[in-house]
């Protein structure tokens, strides 16, 4: 019975097609439909929405902001998450478990609740973050966090940090436990061991963590909506507004599809890069 494996896969395949492929295809189709204030959606095939999205500088700026935020969030997550994973990996029980729970704990709380927490910390000139920074003498005047890209980047980096920590942690687990000792015995100092031995081996973990964080940051909705507010729009909040406020579904669909295509392109490119760069060593 050669058909058996396919038949067994069928229920999952039907579900996948039903909840992913079909809605996706319908969204793509929708982006080619026409829309008017009084006539609503017209099922015709036109390029108007795409011309608008690709031609209008308002959309350029918005997409640039989306990917700029995603880039800095990824950078922050890597700069803090990778060392965090390394330190965590060297901790002994019970500390390791406690700190791992502290890092992964936020995943158990709704993104909206966490972001509202950040909004409280940022809130205005007397927000806790500004008070703390001024108290430490790091800044003279309060920094604007609410309704700024900086605020979105900080809050998103916190929200997405666990994904980076987990990815780096996984690659650290694959490290030979004696490898650092081997380098030390050959005369390498602690910094050299990190830079020459540990970092190159966890690089694939950092890069795959970066891909996840970048994709999630670029498509994040709740955090940019709450911290960014009404004016500072990113791709996902704009698509939301087109769908639910302006009711211009076709234009919203075009924005959403373009975001998806751009993300697929970036993730695919990054994967190719990792595979080509590290295939020989880590195949």
């Amino acid at each position: 019975m050669k058909a058996a494996p396919y038949l067994l896969c069928l229920p999952a395949l039907v579900l996948f097609a039903g909840v992913v492929i079909v809605p996706l295809a319908m969204t793509v189709l929708l982006s080619f439909h026409d829309w008017g204030q009084y006539k609503g959606i017209e099922p015709v095939f036109i390029l108007k929405n795409w011309q608008e999205v690709l031609g209008d500088s308002y959309f350029h700026e918005m997409f640039a902001r989306t990917f700029r935020i995603a880039f800095f969030v990824t950078l922050l997550a890597a700069v803090f998450g990778a060392p965090e994973a390394y330190i965590l990996n060297r901790m002994r029980s019970p500390w390791r478990g406690i700190f791992l729970l502290m890092i992964l704990g936020p995943l158990l709380i709704s993104v909206v609740a966490r972001t509202l927490g950040w909004a409280l910390l940022f809130g205005g000139n007397s927000g806790l973050v500004n008070k703390a920074l001024m108290g430490m003498g790091l800044i003279a005047a309060p920094l604007p966090f609410m309704f700024t890209e900086t605020g979105i980047v900080v809050a998103l980096a916190h929200v997405l940090m666990p994904y980076m920590v987990l990815a780096v942690w996984a690659s650290l687990q694959r490290l030979d436990p004696q490898i650092e000792n081997a380098a030390v015995a050959l005369g390498a100092g602690p910094f050299t061991v990190l830079r020459r031995i540990v970092l190159p081996q966890v690089m694939p973990g950092i890069l795959s963590g970066a891909v996840i964080v970048f994709a999630l940051a670029a498509s994040a909705f709740a955090t940019p909506a709450i911290i960014g507010g009404r004016r500072l729009k990113v791709a996902s909040t704009l698509a939301y507004d087109e769908f639910l406020n302006t009711l211009n579904w076709p234009l919203g669909a075009a924005v959403a599809v373009l975001l998806l295509l751009a993300l697929i392109g970036i993730v695919w490119g990054a994967n190719r890069l990792v595979e080509r760069r590290y295939a020989q060593v880590f195949a």
């Binding site: 000792n181 030390v184 880590f282």
Partner: protein
């Protein structure tokens, strides 16, 4: 004065003494094996010499200097790990050259010395390969070359052959011994394999529960085991009326300890017998010389030198 001296070396984990007052002197150029079952403290001893574990008390001196006062990175010891711990992202040449690079040896000299050492271990043609592309035996040689290229004062081998299959292991034993003789590096081997320890080393230290049960040349420890533990650990042994007798020293004779053959197992170059006697079950090993041998159920007489 001995080259390497361990003096009353002790390492405690809580109330348990992993290494318990170990004293050992190793001469320059000597090959010493720390032999014992897992948990006997042999690996902890090696790690204290390497500097990865701090002793609770005791001293380690190398050429008269206090080794414990020197950081692990500055001790200049060559270590071959059980897992080899090769750097997977570096080529064979980069792996072997890493220690020289850390010492600040110029690139040209580095290349020469890396080439020489890889020739020594028979891997001259593999410089540009990555560890993943090598067999277990080849990785082991790279690990050895990486440890030897820095011209270490002492070579520490942590179960270096345990990941190889039986045939390869035998070949590597001979080769390891030859290489050690050639370069003359003082070597400490940690192993649980008594055959490996006896084949390679000038002296063995049989360890049990953190203490040295016997220190001496392999044949001496085998012939005159100091304790029942040593006798049992170094190959098969019989305890007949309170006297230990090696199975290969017992022969079938016209008169002696009477018994009946219970089992007979053919092992190629020798026969392994279990004989029921009045003094209990006795194991006998006889060379396979092609002659007819007693079969199961036969009545036999057992004799050995020194039997009253």
């Amino acid at each position: 004065m001995a080259f390497l001296e361990l003096e009353k070396l002790t390492k405690s984990f809580g109330t348990h003494n992993a290494v318990d007052g170990l004293t050992l002197s190793v001469e320059k150029g000597e090959f010493v094996a720390l032999l014992g079952p897992s948990g006997c403290g042999k690996t902890t001893t090696l790690q204290m010499i390497a500097g990865f574990v701090e002793p609770t008390s005791g001293a380690i001196r190398l050429a008269g200097k206090d080794l414990l006062a020197i950081k692990p990175a500055k001790r200049g010891l060559g270590i071959v790990f059980q897992s080899y711990a090769l750097f997977p992202h570096m080529t064979v040449a980069e792996n072997v050259g890493f220690g020289l690079e850390m010492q600040g040896v110029a690139a040209a000299e580095r290349t020469t010395r890396v080439g020489e050492t890889l020739e020594l271990v028979g891997l001259g043609a593999f410089t540009t390969r990555f560890p993943r592309q090598l067999s277990g035996g080849q990785q082991q040689r790279v690990a050895l070359a990486r440890a030897l290229v820095i011209r270490p004062q002492i070579l520490l081998l942590d179960e270096p052959l345990s990941n190889l299959d039986a045939k390869l292991r035998e070949g590597m034993q001979i080769e390891l011994r030859q290489i050690q003789r050639t370069v003359g590096t003082t070597t400490i081997l940690v192993t649980h394999d008594q055959a490996e320890a006896m084949a390679l080393s000038d002296r063995i230290v049989v360890m049990n529960q953190g203490k040295a049960e016997q220190i001496g040349p392999p044949h001496e420890a085998y012939e005159r085991p100091a304790t029942p533990f040593v006798a049992n650990f170094l190959g098969k042994t019989n305890l007949v009326n309170g006297v230990t007798v090696r199975p290969e020293r017992i022969s079938f004779a016209a008169s002696g300890l009477a018994g009946t053959v219970r089992t007979r197992i053919f092992q190629g170059n020798h026969w392994l017998y279990q004989v029921d006697t009045a003094s209990g079950l006795v194991t006998v090993i006889r060379q396979n010389t092609g002659e007819a041998m007693p079969v199961e159920g036969d009545a036999v007489q057992l004799a050995w030198e020194g039997r009253a």
